[in-house]
């Protein structure tokens, strides 16, 4: 029995008929050759979020990002230049290709502040704008014009404080790529939420499997059953999970969910520590004192139905950036960076309004600790799934209506791969987006 209304088409999935309702084939998550194409077709063609502007507080602030998802060794420097413009460059000296910025271990990411970048090898120097400014024993070179040897730039654009890069110089601008969901999120007070917890894990599963796990909450009452009080857990399992709404706009998607735990209707529903600290999985129950997070102040994309029992919205920006908002006024991000068909690096970042006292600090601490406990369970399940689908004993899997976004993710990834193959490895990004936006326009016309 549906507790929340579904679209007139009869189900969320049938509302987007191109997704189909047949079992889904998971060859895309186990075939090493397919993964190599995904790297080229997706991770070298789409906008990838590499962090927030708070990591670059002043002129000359920089950090490096290792980007193996775009190919082994790929490394990028992100820097705030003298005009306070955020720029990105390949992390490579133009002289003989030494990695430019690193400490101790060339494979590890670093951050800091500097006036210029100096290569460790022969002291070639580059300005924050990427220009080659000094060559050791310049007179020994042959017809060397420093103007020809600046750092190789990487497309870099910022949306609402989130820094994105794109390895495709022909890609459409970021805001066009992020589309209507992003437009509908503008104005959320991201900049107030600077209390930052960051997690990292190496996961022995395909990158899409972890996104699968986070774009459906069908699993939540079962996998995480033990984390709720017994009576409440049984009730939740009996009800199962139904989202308030799903939405798809081109290559991106979102799920809007209810959540009665912040604060709970009845204190007996929650664990003793939650009762004392007024916090739990959904975060601190008491909203921080800032503008922009009250139910009627939220930007239009969040809780689009303005549902009273709304608890959390999760936006999935293709390919690997999840932006998840919690009703009590905090957010988190996930990133999934594939390194092989059956391996990826998972990053999670929690952002709260800085606490004013210990009561607020411990309520955030409990939310952060709770997050990690849940993520552990989610992560371990993935390896168990990867090993089994890898056997190909079963190749196609039935997905229910609450798993609609999995269909969309795998289809979108396939669309990129197919477009790449069909275009003989050319730049397809802009075309794909145009097609996706057109589909979306038709969809909106049909359902508004």
């Amino acid at each position: 029995m549906a507790h929340f209304p579904k679209p007139a088409a009869g189900s969320w999935t049938q509302n987007w008929p191109e997704l189909g309702t047949a079992p889904v084939n998971y060859e895309d998550s186990i075939n090493p050759e397919h993964f190599k194409v995904e790297q080229q077709a997706i991770f070298k063609k789409t906008w990838l979020n590499v962090g927030r502007v708070e990591r670059l507080p002043k002129k000359g602030s920089y950090f490096t990002r290792e980007m193996p998802s775009a190919g082994p060794g790929t490394s990028v420097i992100i820097v705030k230049d003298k005009q306070e413009v955020v720029r990105a460059f390949y992390n490579m000296c133009r002289h003989r290709g030494n990695k430019l910025v690193w400490n101790d271990y060339p494979g590890e990411e670093v951050s800091g502040t500097c006036r210029q970048f100096t290569c460790k090898y022969h002291a070639w120097r580059y300005s924050l704008e990427g220009d080659l400014t000094f060559v050791q024993q310049e007179g020994e070179f042959f017809d060397l014009d420093k103007g020809d040897y600046g750092l190789v730039p990487v497309r870099c654009e910022v949306w609402e404080g989130f820094i994105f890069i794109n390895f495709d110089n022909g890609a459409a601008p970021l805001t066009e790529y992020l589309g209507d969901f992003a437009k509908g999120l503008e104005g959320y007070p991201f900049h107030e939420m600077t209390e930052h917890y960051s997690y990292r894990s190496e996961i022995n599963a395909n990158w899409k499997l972890f996104i699968d796990a986070f774009v459906e909450f069908y699993h939540a009452p079962i996998l995480h059953m033990k984390q709720a009080e017994k009576e409440e857990a049984e009730k939740l399992a009996k009800f199962g999970f139904e989202a308030l709404a799903y939405d798809i706009k081109g290559i991106h998607s979102m799920v809007s969910s209810w959540g009665g735990m912040s604060p709970p209707k009845d204190l007996s529903m929650v664990k003793p520590i939650e009762r004392i600290l007024h916090s739990g999985l959904f975060g601190p129950w008491d909203r921080p004192d800032i503008e922009g997070i009250q139910p009627d102040e939220l930007p239009p994309a969040i809780n689009p139905g303005r549902h009273k029992s709304w608890g959390t919205d999760s936006f999935e920006f293709f390919p690997n950036f999840t932006l998840l908002f919690w009703a009590p006024g905090w957010y988190l991000t996930y990133h999934y960076w594939p390194t092989a068909v059956d391996k990826h690096i998972f990053e999670a970042d929690l952002y709260f309004v800085p606490p004013k006292n210990l009561r607020e600090r411990l309520s955030q601490e409990l939310a952060a600790v709770t997050f990690k406990e849940y993520a552990f369970q989610d992560a371990n399940t993935l390896e168990a799934t990867q090993t089994q689908i890898g056997t190909r004993v079963v190749t196609d899997f039935p997905l229910c209506d609450q798993e609609i976004l999995l269909r969309h993710l795998h289809k979108t990834a396939w669309d990129y791969v197919n477009a790449y193959k069909n275009n003989d490895n050319g730049s397809t990004n802009g075309k794909h987006d145009a097609k996706a936006s057109q589909d979306e326009a038709e969809k909106d016309a049909a359902h508004v």
């Binding site: 960051s198 990292r200 003793p272 600090r361 990690k372 992560a379």
Partner: protein, 109 residues
């Protein structure tokens, strides 16, 4: 010499849990018995409200006296042991054998 303010002398026996980083607290959790964590939980939960009242009379969190800071770290450890005690009945997250998630950045008090 005691780490905690004298008002919390009853918790002094848990002062090896006064650990500033999550990595240290998580590691101590994994290397503790359930009996040890149950003891901290029982004593700590009864005083958690008092801990918050005491510290919040001495905010901001940055730059507070050393003994109050130790008390904050103890409070964070009480949160840390709450999951093994209230939920898992074991130090590790259930069914998490192969996975490891590392906290790489946190606001340390």
């Amino acid at each position: 010499m005691s780490k905690l303010p004298e008002e919390f002398a009853d918790l002094e026996r848990f002062s090896d849990w006064c650990l500033p980083t999550e990595e240290e607290r998580y590691s101590k959790r994994l290397n503790s018995t359930m009996a040890e964590m149950q003891e901290l939980y029982d004593a700590g939960m009864a005083r958690l409200e008092d801990i918050m009242v005491y510290v919040d009379a001495r905010v901001p969190l940055k730059g507070m006296p050393k003994d109050a800071k130790a008390l904050v770290h103890l409070g964070q450890s009480i949160v840390m042991v709450s999951f093994p005690v209230e939920v898992w009945k074991q130090p590790r997250v259930l069914d998490s054998g192969a996975s490891y998630i590392q906290l790489i950045k946190e606001p340390v008090v």
